[in-house]
Subunit: 231 residues, 4 copies
């Protein structure tokens, strides 16, 4: 049994991992990530469903969420969900795609409006992350906790896009001598992870502003090039 060392070393971060012997083949899920956006007879109803479902998926783990319950809460028939979404998993994916898409969009919008200065850009990102974390805290709890197969669904693309944006800002700051960081990608993950950690299990009663401010203190200093007492 000792020889049977488990081989579940994550081959590919960012994704649920497959096993050594291939027995655990992840069934190719049935969602094309790009969206020939299905006819949406009633866009408002679609949003309703997503809103209700977001709450439900946040309230309990995926396998405990019943579509019947979502339908009942949305005051529609169970079958109706299938007019707007291909499956339960697809429903969640769409919710996350939208949520992360919103976040990505608002980060990009904010960056465009902001002066081309390293700390200001960092602040722009941090502010958006904090606002998102406070206003839609459960979005975070969904991202990876329940979601396998994020590659196929295009979600990891959005996630990577956000990471990339942060990395760019840090790298630009390093170039300019404003920041000192030997591994900006790591730092980007710190930032996202930190925000997520607070969103999920952080202290209650925290305003987005306080949160952003504190993040700026810690990460601003942490990235600051001017000195470096790490010891």
């Amino acid at each position: 049994m000792d020889g049977a060392r488990i081989a579940l070393i994550p081959l590919c971060k960012n994704e649920y991992i497959d096993e050594e012997d291939g027995d655990f083949t992840i069934p190719t899920s049935q969602f094309s990530s790009s969206l020939p956006p299905m006819q949406r007879p009633d866009e408002k109803k679609r949003r309703d469903i997503m809103k209700i479902a977001e709450a439900a998926f946040a309230a309990r783990p995926f396998h405990e969420v019943r579509l019947e319950e979502i339908a009942a809460r949305a005051r529609i028939g169970k079958g109706t969900i299938y007019i707007y979404f291909r499956s339960k998993e697809n429903l969640l994916v769409e919710i996350l795609r939208e949520g992360l898409g919103d976040l990505q969009a608002s980060i990009e919008r904010r960056l465009l409006q902001c002066p081309d200065e390293s700390v200001a850009k960092l602040r722009a990102i941090v502010t958006e992350l904090a606002t998102f974390a406070i206003s839609r805290p459960y979005m975070y709890s969904l991202v990876r906790s329940v979601l396998p197969r994020s590659c196929e669904t295009g979600l990891s693309g959005i996630h990577k896009g956000i990471v990339k944006k942060i990395v760019e800002v840090i790298e630009k700051g390093v170039e300019r001598g404003d920041f000192a960081d030997t591994h900006p990608a790591l730092t980007a993950h710190y930032l996202l992870g930190a925000v997520r950690g607070v969103a999920i299990s952080g202290p209650g009663k925290l305003s987005a502003e306080e949160f952003a401010e504190h993040l700026m203190v810690v990460f601003g200093r942490g990235l600051c090039a001017r000195e470096g007492a790490s010891r």
Copy 2:
């Protein structure tokens, strides 16, 4: 055996009769302290199951993990799992409890061995977190997968214990003038979240040492009292 008089005298005609002592829990020895050297639930087998199951739970989301498959991989009968664990959820909880418990224990051990100095203590914690993240990355991905009910399962207690340890170190550092932090609890969550983020979706090919070192740079600076250009 004569004293064991049966108490099932029908108290009430017309109905099946209940037993004197109500719930009569069968004294399932469940690892009872000491038994005749007969067969006993096998602690090693319990660990085997947990090891296999940890891999399975890491490989796919909770609702796609089949106990039958775990049993097959562990080369035991399906029912055997239920000798050692109350339910599928309990199995996962035990895995997490053990994992988080290990982490907590190693942090505490390391803190005891380490000089009573703020940065050294921070380093001790960071080193353990990084080591854990690299060596058991999927532990992190599990934490929220069935973690509603985390209160009842005692898991959140362990998590809080770890947070508390970090907070203590930061607060002590602040008292001594080594650290500057207006909200240590937030920072503790940043640290845990950051580690988690890297464990789950961070860049591959990262050694625990590199990881710890980089964390120390960012968070060490971020906490550093000596100056503070967050702007």
Copy 3:
């Protein structure tokens, strides 16, 4: 739909959040009074299932009856049973409730139509009991097969109702001097037990009429006030 504001705002970080209204029972229409002329649970199908299941429960003991088999015989899906019945036990209870209810109803109907005379009333009851025993003999064999919990299921209520009816008739007869019986409740149980005994293990090839007639002879005499050589 705007008023249906989602209440799933995480009240408590660090834990999956519960819903405002707790148990939120889905308004499964379960034969709700009036619905748009859409599909509705089909009362006829319910009866079909009960008919098939009655046969199955009569053919073997409870724990050997397979719902899958009942479903197959009824040519429906296994899940469909659960649309109409809460559980296997509930299915049996409903069968019994209906059966005993029928018996009770037919006894009461017959009593209303019959002249207000002691022997005639006894005959009315006996006739219905005999008819029931001959036409649905397995109903009797079911009565106690899952009848712990008979209180909770309301079955014992029906049974008691029947007993009470018989007792009333006897007591009236005693009042009038037609019957002599010091313990009518006992006699009522004799009658039911006797019928049950014959239904279950009595001689075959017995018509309801013969049976009723013979019962009348034995119990008619047994109750008769006119003389009393019990010795």
Copy 4:
């Protein structure tokens, strides 16, 4: 669906009934009814188990009785039961066989001691039945409620033996002009059923003597030859 009339008319009273299409073949149970009495290493322990199990089988329906519970109550290992009994069903059969055997034996003993007179003989039987019903009321609840396949187990033989004894007494009484009964076998079933009915659901607080006395009044009169106003 109308044509699909259920064919579960009990072909053979006294046994669970098979279905028209033979799908429901009752698995030949694995107990020889006659007893090469297996080595009984410890006869006392065997009795203990039976005593405990009798209570358990009386307390809940067959399928809810756990051998583990019986073992625990008897303070023996689960496997030990299988030293004394071939299976769970066999355990129940043995309990019933013994119980009914006791009843049969005591009836026969009493009949031998009693004057050769019709009413006295009836009284002998009734007294034993009443005593049995009062002192071991749950024996009755077991006899048919849980037990399929009684033919193969030899139980129905004992039951038939008792019926036969009663029938003999009645027939002798008829021959002698003491009793009038056109169908003694039916009456025998009445008697057994009546006793069973009282044992299971009759009024509480009834002494064996009262019970026997009342039975004699009703059945004594019911069988009495001297007159016959059943109308």
